[in-house]
């Protein structure tokens, strides 16, 4: 791990990613102290005399939204939704996908077939429809949205992990450990799982960006994070028809989503390179 860290430290892109993630995490954790205003408060001077949102200025740095609320404060609070959903939902998806994919790939046989056919079924099922149906039944809230996304998002990870595990299980060192008298669960945990780690990390980070987008879609459709709780995706969708008049309402949350997703990708890539077992020990 130490050599992995020293390698990441030399990677400027990864450091940038880490910095962005750190800033967003900080904002999410300390939103009440960082945000200049109450995100839900509608200011009397928050709208122009014509009733339009105010563009960025010295008071409202990122401008105001359709209801005269401070956009910067809403973005800072929205970081909470994005981080919680991005991390929790994706962690759950990775755990489910890895468990099922690795089990199916390693055991093979009829167990593997049943798991993978079920995965195919989930893949063919319209994910958004499932998410909407689940969210409608389970009364939308932040955690329900995270759960719904996890139930939809594990499928791709399971497929990738399955393929990778199949390839690993056929590698000769796995055969050699078997010839040494190791049991299958030990082989899976000790000798196969560490080789899956880079894949898990990369897919875990890639998934975060798609998670943010699903969250936005669900919020727009009214089954995601419920207003007035701010979320980045929600802000964009609520403001999209005003893009020509008040572009800042789409640009700022859009940039936030892009930078957060990009950062997770950069860090994931750097981790993959740093943890590559064939490069360990070479410096």
């Amino acid at each position: 791990m130490r050599s992995a860290w020293s390698r990441i430290r030399r990677d400027k892109a990864a450091l940038f990613g880490l910095a962005v993630i750190a800033v967003v995490t900080f904002a999410a954790l300390f939103a009440p102290f960082v945000a200049p205003f109450n995100p839900d408060q509608q200011f009397a001077n928050g709208l122009t005399l014509q009733g339009a949102p105010r563009p960025p200025d010295g008071v409202y740095w990122f401008g105001t939204d359709l209801l005269g609320r401070d956009l910067l404060s809403r973005l800072i609070w929205g970081a909470r939704a994005s981080m919680i959903i991005g991390l929790a939902a994706n962690l759950a998806a990775v755990v489910i996908g890895t468990t099922l994919g690795a089990t199916a790939g390693f055991l093979g046989g009829w167990i593997g077939t049943v798991i993978m056919r079920f995965t195919d079924l989930m893949m063919a099922f319209p994910a958004l429809l499932l998410a909407i149906a689940l969210a409608a039944i389970l009364h939308p809230s932040l955690w329900i949205v995270a759960l719904v996304i996890a139930l939809v998002n594990w499928v791709q990870i399971a497929r990738v992990i399955y393929t990778e595990t199949r390839a690993l299980a056929a590698r000769e060192f796995v055969e050699a450990v078997r010839a040494l008298g190791a049991g299958r669960w030990r082989i899976l945990a000790r000798h196969v799982l560490p080789h899956l780690l880079p894949t898990i990390l990369v897919w875990g980070t890639l998934g975060i960006s798609s998670t943010v987008l699903i969250e936005a879609t669900l919020s727009f459709l009214g089954v995601g994070v419920q207003p007035p709780t701010p979320s980045w995706g929600g802000i964009i969708f609520q403001s999209q028809s005003y893009f020509m008049v008040a572009p800042w309402l789409v640009v700022f949350p859009g940039l936030a989503i892009i930078f957060l997703a990009l950062s997770f990708n950069l860090v994931g890539d750097a981790l993959r390179d740093a943890l590559d077992p064939t490069q360990r020990g070479i410096t």
Binding site: G109, R171, E172, F173, E175, A176, V177, R178, A179, L180, G181, A182, G183, R190, H191, P194, H195, P277, T278, R280, G281
Partner: protein, 337 residues
């Protein structure tokens, strides 16, 4: 076969082993009645072309063939009198790596790249409850010294990619010998190595066999390798043992036409030939084998009977005029005189 040093019971006795694989076009027989015995301390070479069933035989002994598609149709594999095929999975797992060690063809890929050499040797010890922690680490170091990988203190901390092919095969050997097995199965251990390294590894196998007092089953397609290490040689063809004898005997007087063909097609030192003789045709693939001898289509000595009836492995005497040779057996209706 001849017991070495008068030992009475074989360590390993494969009796009439038949293994088949399920394919899309039905079940295909891969091993068809293999008989092979290894006595304590003995080194037996199993020789044959690709596809003859050597590795399937070895993997059957380890019970590492994936099932399905493979299936044992009949036969027994007795290890110290106990039928391995009848052992429950847990007991068989305890046998692997403990009583029976195995090394593979590809030392480059048979070690886990994510763990140090020391960790992987210690794991072999820990798996069978021989040693843990510091004790395991110390024993791993001692094992490395014994297989000629030094200095142990430094090597233990290295990863497989930092070692050459020859060193890796030595490490594999240290892992296989960690629990002091009774039998070492070496599946083409030198095929992936340079010629000079090959000789070193063969020497090492011969030396360790004496040191550990173990039996060796050496699987190879290289007759030269067999001559160097083995007491006894079994020649395999199309899922059957076609000839077996002591190494000296087999090289002096092969009786099966296939064995003779193998020897003639190997280059000899100091002999100038324009073109090496070859055995015409190919090993019939499993599923395309007739009822008779598997070699019938490629054999210059084939009789009508050969295609109809499989010849049993039976004792054969020496060439005409010489005294009979005990333990020399061939499966042929019309053996080479």
């Amino acid at each position: 076969m001849i017991p070495k040093d008068g030992a009475s019971a074989p360590l390993l006795a494969i009796e009439d082993l038949a293994v088949s694989f399920g394919t899309e076009s039905g079940r295909v027989s891969v091993l068809d009645g293999v008989n092979l015995s290894i006595f304590p301390g003995q080194a037996v070479g199993l020789v044959g072309e690709s596809g003859s069933g050597k590795s399937v035989t070895a993997m059957s002994v380890m019970r590492l063939l994936p099932s399905p598609p493979s299936r044992v149709d009949r036969g027994r594999i007795l290890f110290r009198g106990q039928d391995l095929l009848a052992l429950p999975a847990g007991k068989m797992r305890a046998m692997r790596g403990d009583r029976i060690g195995m090394i593979f063809q590809e030392p480059m890929t048979s070690l886990n790249p994510t763990f140090t050499v020391g960790f992987q040797i210690a794991e072999a010890l820990a798996l069978h409850g021989k040693a843990r922690g510091v004790a395991a680490h110390e024993r791993a170091g001692a094992l490395l010294e014994r297989v000629g990988v030094g200095p142990a203190a430094r090597r233990l901390r290295q990863y497989p990619h930092e070692l050459s092919g020859g060193l890796r095969q030595r490490v594999m050997m240290a892992i296989a010998l960690a629990c002091d097995p009774d039998l070492l199965i070496a599946d083409e251990p030198t095929t992936a190595l340079d010629v000079t390294i090959q000789a070193q590894i063969l020497d090492l196998i011969a030396r360790l066999r004496a040191e550990f007092g173990m039996s060796v089953l050496l699987i190879t397609h290289d007759l030269g390798v067999v001559a160097e290490v083995c007491d006894l040689v079994a020649v395999m063809y199309a899922g059957r043992i076609v000839e077996q004898a002591s190494a000296a005997r087999l090289f002096a007087a092969p009786r099966h036409p296939y064995t003779l063909g193998l020897m003639e097609s190997a280059p000899k030192l100091g002999q100038r030939v324009k073109e090496l003789p070859t055995i015409p045709g190919m090993v019939p693939p499993p599923g395309k084998r007739g009822p008779g001898c598997g070699f019938v289509g490629r054999c210059g000595r084939a009789l009508a009977r050969c295609a109809a009836e499989p010849p049993p492995l039976a004792p054969v005497g020496g060439p005409v005029g010489s005294s009979a040779s005990p333990g020399h057996e061939a499966a042929c209706w019309n053996p080479v005189p």
